[in-house]
Amino acid sequence: MSTEKIGKGRLFPSVSDMEKWPWWALVIALAAVFIVFNIFNSASYQDAFGFIREGIFTTIRVTLTAYGIAILGGLFLGLGRVSKNVFYYNFATLYVELMRGIPMLVIILYGAFVVVPLGLEIASGLGTWMTRFPLLAGWGASLQHLDIQNVDMSARAIAGLAMGYAAFEAEVFRAGIQSIERGQMEAARSLGMNYVEAMRYVILPQAFSRVLPPLGNDFIAILKDSSLISVLAVRDITQLGKLYRARTFSSFEAYNTMAFLYLSMTISLSLGVKFIEKRLRRGR
C-alpha cells in the first residue's frame, strides 16, 4: 500500500509484480507445449518433423562456420576501422559500407555465384603459373585443380553469410575498441608498448568482454539469416520445410515445425546472452 503512494515519484515508475511477470514467455511456452505434444502424438506432425529434422544439423553447421569466419574477418576489419593507416582504414570502411548497403539475400547470391567462383578461378590460374617454378610446383598443382564444380553449395552459402556478417562484426569491434577510455592506450604506450602490443594486451581484452552481448545477439541474427541459404537449395531447416510443404501441402505442420525449431534455438541463445550481460554488469 505504502509503496503505491510513492510509486510515481520513483526514478523509474514502479509497476506491480503481476505487471512485471513475463506473460510473453508464457505464450511461447504454451505454443511450444502444443508443438511438442503434436510431434509426439500426431502422425502428420511426426512426419513433418522427421522430414525437416535432417536440416537442423545443416543449419547449425552453416551458422557456426559462417559466424566463426565472420568474427575473424570482423576483427580484422574492425581494427582497420580504427587504424590510422590510410589504406587499411579505407579498405575496411569501403568493405563495411558496401556490405551494409546490400541486402543479405543479395550478398549470399553474390558470394555463391560471383565471389567464390571468381576466387577459385584466380587461385587455379595462379596454380597454373606456379607449376612453372620447381619450388612451388607442388602447391601450384593442388591449386590448379580447384574447380567450382567440386565446391558444394553449403560452402558457397557459408562464404556469402560470412562476407555479410564480417561487416556487422567489424562495426561491433570498432565500437568496442572505441569505448575503451583513451587513458588505457596512453598508459600502455607510456610504458613503452607499441600500438600492436597495446591493442593485444590492453585494449582488445577489455573490448572483447564489452562486446560479448552484441556478438551474442549477432549470433542469433546469423542463425535466423541462415534460412536465406535455402535459395541455394542447401538442405537446411527452411529448405526442407519448403520441400515438405510442396510435397504434402501440409502448410501448418511444415511451417509450425520450422518456426518451432528456430524459436527453440534463438530463445535459449537469447537467454544465454542475457545471462552473460548480467554477469558483465555485475563486473569483477
Partner: protein, 250 residues
C-alpha cells in the same frame, strides 16, 4: 652525446610550441631538467603544464621546437619512441590501471612485453615494487577493488618496475579523496629522496616545499617564472605568479 651539452642535463626542452586547433597550449617553452632533479610545474588550468609534461614522452607531438631526453632527440623521425618511453615512467591523474588485470599483472605486463623479462624475474620485481609503495598484500586484487590512493600507488609501482630514468607525474593527487592524498605524496617524497629524476605537475605545496629543487610557474602557454621553491613562494617577482599563489595558498 653532444659534446657541448651538459652531461648532467637529462631533459632539454627548446622553444616548444603546440596548438590544438585555435588554442595555443604552448608558445615557445624552454627549460632543462638535471639528473636527479625534482621539478614541479605549477600554474592555472589551461596554462599548458600538462601539455608540456606530455610532450616529454611524446603523448602529445609538439608543432615545433626540440626536446632531448637523455641525449635522444625524441621528436626525430628516426628515434624509436617506444624505447624512450620505456625509460620514462608516467603517472596519470586518472591512474589508468588496466582493469582486466590483477594488481600484480598490471605491474608485470610491460616488463614482460617491453623489457622481455622472464615471468619469475618480472614477478619478483613487481612484488618488490608493490612493497616499495606499501601494498604488497593487494597483489592479487583487481584495480576496481582498491581505493583511489591504493590505485595510484599501484600505478607508481607499475612505472617503477620498468626501472625508468625519469618519472613524470601528471596531477597525481587531483582525482583523490583528501584523506588519500598523503599516502601517495609520501611515496613520491621517498622516491625523490632516493634521487629519482622527477617532473611533477601538481599544486601540492607541502610536497613542493619538501621535495622540489626547482619550481616552474606557467601561464598562457609560457613559463612566467622559475626558481627554488623558497624564492617562488616567498618572493615571486612576477605579478601573475603572486596572484596565482594568493589564490591557491589559503
Amino acid at each position: 652525446m653532444d659534446d657541448n651539452q651538459d652531461q648532467d642535463v637529462i631533459i632539454q626542452i627548446d622553444h616548444v610550441t603546440k596548438s590544438f586547433g585555435k588554442i595555443h597550449a604552448l608558445k615557445g617553452v624552454s627549460t632543462t631538467v638535471k639528473r636527479g632533479e625534482v621539478l614541479v610545474i605549477i600554474g592555472p588550468s589551461g596554462s599548458g603544464k600538462s601539455t608540456l609534461l606530455r610532450c616529454i614522452n611524446m603523448l602529445e607531438f609538439p608543432d615545433s621546437g626540440q626536446i632531448m631526453v637523455d641525449g635522444i632527440p625524441v621528436m626525430h623521425k628516426a628515434t624509436n619512441i617506444n624505447a624512450v618511453r620505456a625509460e620514462v615512467g608516467m603517472v596519470f591523474q586518472q591512474f589508468n590501471l588496466f582493469p582486466h588485470l590483477t594488481v600484480l599483472e598490471n605491474v608485470i605486463l610491460a616488463q614482460r612485453v617491453v623489457r622481455k623479462r622472464k615471468r619469475e624475474e618480472a614477478e619478483q620485481i613487481a612484488l618488490q615494487q608493490l612493497k616499495h609503495v606499501g601494498i604488497p598484500e593487494k597483489a592479487n586484487s583487481y584495480p576496481g577493488e582498491l581505493s583511489g590512493g591504493q590505485q595510484q600507488r599501484v600505478a607508481i609501482a607499475r612505472a617503477l618496475a620498468m626501472n625508468p630514468k625519469i618519472m613524470l607525474f601528471d596531477e597525481p593527487t587531483s582525482a583523490l579523496d583528501p584523506e588519500m592524498i598523503k599516502e601517495v605524496l609520501d611515496v613520491m617524497l621517498a622516491l625523490a629522496k632516493e634521487g629519482m629524476t622527477m617532473v611533477v605537475v601538481s599544486h601540492e605545496m607541502g610536497f613542493t616545499r619538501a621535495a622540489a629543487n626547482r619550481v616552474v610557474f606557467m601561464d598562457m602557454g609560457k613559463i612566467v617564472e622559475e626558481g627554488s621553491p623558497d624564492s617562488i613562494f616567498k618572493n615571486p617577482t612576477e605579478e601573475r605568479t603572486r596572484l596565482f599563489l594568493s589564490q591557491i595558498l589559503h
